[in-house]
């Protein structure tokens, strides 16, 4: 199976001088245009769906905006959903930089939430969150990191393709977590554990009253820090330099003294760890317990986030906001059209991005050659 043909937009120093300005423009075009084309296609499909339900697209989209960025509760919900998507999108983008497709963010997210919950449930109640947060982050990273690392090791040691193994691991890990939860931790008649009484993360509403009722919480700061750290790791450290080289040209990386296998295992473990930390958003920031199925497809939507975000940490954060808006917007417009139409929209965006990345790049390069 081929490695994904996704252009990791180059990071690095700001350009200067004539040629680099042209090169930078070309890079920017290649990074942004496919996403814009894809969004345009999605908007057209969305219009068609809305019309098929007998509604006016303009009214629906206006309501969608009003219900998300238009009021502070809706905006808080967007931030909450964007937080989880930032983690899963970042995880997938990180692995893509090493040339790997991590389809397992869904179970890595769940595993991270689960290990954090197990740690939380075994702690004495009442410890301050500021002290406990690093412990939780480490626990969640460990949970997700193990799941990701297993897939990485299966690839570097046995050559088992990571796409298939991460999909299979999704089912295996979710079944395992389901067994552990139902056997040892579950509150009877529910799918969730008992409440964690130590180190729950404050909601944003505790600082800004208007957010009241929304689930947005301080894990969003962890998400922002994760993006910054991932950027720094990828573009400012030797390990990141080597990781990206493996992703772009494994043979050149080998020449540069890097063993691709070691990088694959490490990249998948880190990717899994990032997704795992995302589990804190629900477990510590929102419900204060682990619940089966809380990931709810965020691991798969993360693929869209990573692609639309151009596999760049900053782009991922912005794309997460976009998809969170669409997702929350579905609820806002449910009175006019079924909220499921946003699920169609999200799928269309992914297909359109996948199609337009090679197509748009081909067109751009052809145009530049002819210019």
């Amino acid at each position: 199976m081929a490695s994904p043909e996704i252009s990791p937009a180059a990071g690095g120093a700001p350009p200067s001088g004539g040629t680099s300005r042209i090169a930078a423009r070309a890079r920017l075009e290649e990074a942004l245009l496919p996403s814009l084309v894809a969004l345009l296609v999605a908007a057209i499909v969305g219009d068609a769906l809305i019309v098929s339900f007998g509604q006016a697209p303009a009214a629906v989209f206006r309501l969608l905006l009003d219900g998300t960025w238009g009021n502070s509760y809706g905006f808080g919900q967007v931030l909450y959903k964007a937080t989880t998507l930032t983690f899963t999108g970042l995880a997938i983008a990180f692995a893509l930089r090493a040339g790997l497709f991590n389809i397992g963010a869904e179970s890595q997210l769940a595993a991270g939430g689960f290990t954090a919950a197990v740690v939380g449930l075994s702690l004495p109640p009442g410890l301050p969150w500021i002290v406990m947060l690093p412990v939780y982050v480490a626990a969640a990273a460990l949970g997700g990191g193990i799941v990701g690392g297993v897939a990485g090791e299966l690839k570097s040691r046995f050559g088992a393709h990571e796409v298939i193994t991460t999909i299979m691991l999704n089912f295996i890990v979710l079944a395992l977590l389901s067994y552990l939860t139902s056997t040892y931790l579950k509150v009877p008649e529910t799918l969730h554990t008992t409440e964690i009484r130590s180190g729950a993360v404050p909601r944003l509403a505790d600082f800004f009253e208007p957010f009241h009722g929304s689930a947005a919480n301080l894990v969003i700061v962890v998400a922002a820090l994760s993006c910054a750290t991932a950027w720094w790791y990828l573009f400012r450290t030797r390990r990141g330099f080597e990781l990206r080289a493996v992703g772009l040209q494994p043979e050149a990386a080998e020449y540069a003294g890097v063993r691709p296998g070691a990088v694959w295992t490490r990249a998948m473990a880190i990717s899994g760890a990032i997704a795992g930390v995302g589990g804190l958003n629900f477990v510590l920031g929102y419900k204060h317990y682990y619940e089966e199925g809380f990931a709810g497809g965020a691991g798969f939507l993360g693929i869209a986030v990573a692609l639309v975000g151009g596999t760049h940490p900053l782009g991922v954060a912005l794309a997460a906001l976009l998809f969170a808006t669409i997702s929350q917007g579905g609820l806002a417009v449910n009175a006019l059209v079924p909220k499921q139409f946003v699920e169609v929209l999200q799928a269309v965006v992914i297909i359109a991005v996948a199609v337009s990345v090679p197509e748009v790049r081909r067109l751009l390069r052809a145009r530049r050659r002819n210019a």
Partner: protein, 293 residues
């Protein structure tokens, strides 16, 4: 009697796997990754519910289901073949698309967010575990012969020969004048039809469509495709094996010998073991997932 009951139930569980895995074999042997099987099944299932409900006949359901699966396969084929989009990305998106589209049109057509009204199926109104119901259901018979049919197609017909060549070495196929693109399109649409039939079976058996009713069966079929090393007869055996394990778990539920979750893991664990090559490595078709030059 217990043995017969066991076999009957195994068969009922295996039929959708057999359909979808047959589609998986055709698609992957032609070089297109079968991540889309789950989506085809779900799309086929929903279309079958529509067809059977509005056509008042199970056969309309079959026809519509086939079209539903094929339609999603066309989207996949055009993206992956014409536009050379990444098959993994599009494959995952096809599954999300199938979930979203079926939910949206469930609301639009039936005004429900969970299930369709009761639709006509085969073999009367009740669908018990009895043999009469099984024998009366043509989908069972079709499901039983689908793997032999695909094996015959792959190994005995010119088209099958071309499919095998295209998935393995497209350049060689091109060099002797085989229209690689056309073969791939045909194969991917056929896989949509076959996997769609798996969804049709579910709807007609349960007499209704429910949200996400395929519940990962497409991925079990993909696991069977890989575990069976892309060879129809082995893949068929893998489907029966996975179904038998499930049946065993259901029948032993009272005994609590093994938690159900561990039985659920079996297909996936076996697939990883097969891929890692602990006992004879599973080697996929060489051009799988690659767009030829």
């Amino acid at each position: 009697m217990a043995v017969l009951l066991f076999l009957a139930q195994t068969l009922r569980i295996a039929i959708p796997y057999l359909f979808a895995a047959a589609g998986g074999v055709v698609s992957e042997r032609a070089g297109l990754i079968g991540l889309t099987l789950e989506g085809y099944m779900l799309g086929g299932a929903f279309a079958a519910a529509l067809g059977s409900y509005y056509g008042h006949s199970a056969w309309f359901g079959v026809l519509a289901g086939v079209l539903g699966g094929a339609l999603l396969a066309v989207v996949y084929g055009v993206s992956a073949i014409r536009f050379r989009a990444d098959q993994v990305v599009v494959g995952i998106a096809i599954n999300l698309l199938a979930i979203g589209v079926t939910r949206f049109f469930l609301r639009l057509a039936f005004g429900s967010s969970s299930n369709s009204p009761r639709v006509t199926g085969f073999g009367g109104e009740q669908s018990g575990n009895g043999f009469t119901a099984l024998v009366a259901n043509p989908m069972i018979w079709l499901g039983l012969i689908v793997i032999p049919l695909v094996a015959w197609m792959l190994y005995r017909t010119p088209f099958g020969l071309r499919v095998r060549a295209v998935g393995e070495h497209p350049a060689a196929a091109t060099s002797v004048g085989v229209p690689v693109t056309r073969v791939r399109y045909t194969a991917v649409i056929l896989s949509g039809v076959l996997a769609g039939l798996g969804g049709v079976y579910l709807v007609l058996d349960q007499h209704q469509f429910t949200d996400q009713m395929t519940a990962g069966r497409g991925f079990i079929a993909l696991a069977a495709t890989i575990f069976g090393r892309w060879d129809p007869s082995r893949v068929g055996v893998a489907c029966l094996l996975f179904a038998a394990a499930e049946t065993l778990q259901i029948q032993l539920q009272g005994a609590q010998l093994v938690p159900s979750q561990f039985v659920e893991m079996i297909p996936y664990l076996l697939t990883i073991i097969a891929l890692a090559g602990v006992v004879g490595r599973a080697v996929p078709p060489a051009a799988l997932g690659r767009a030829p030059e």
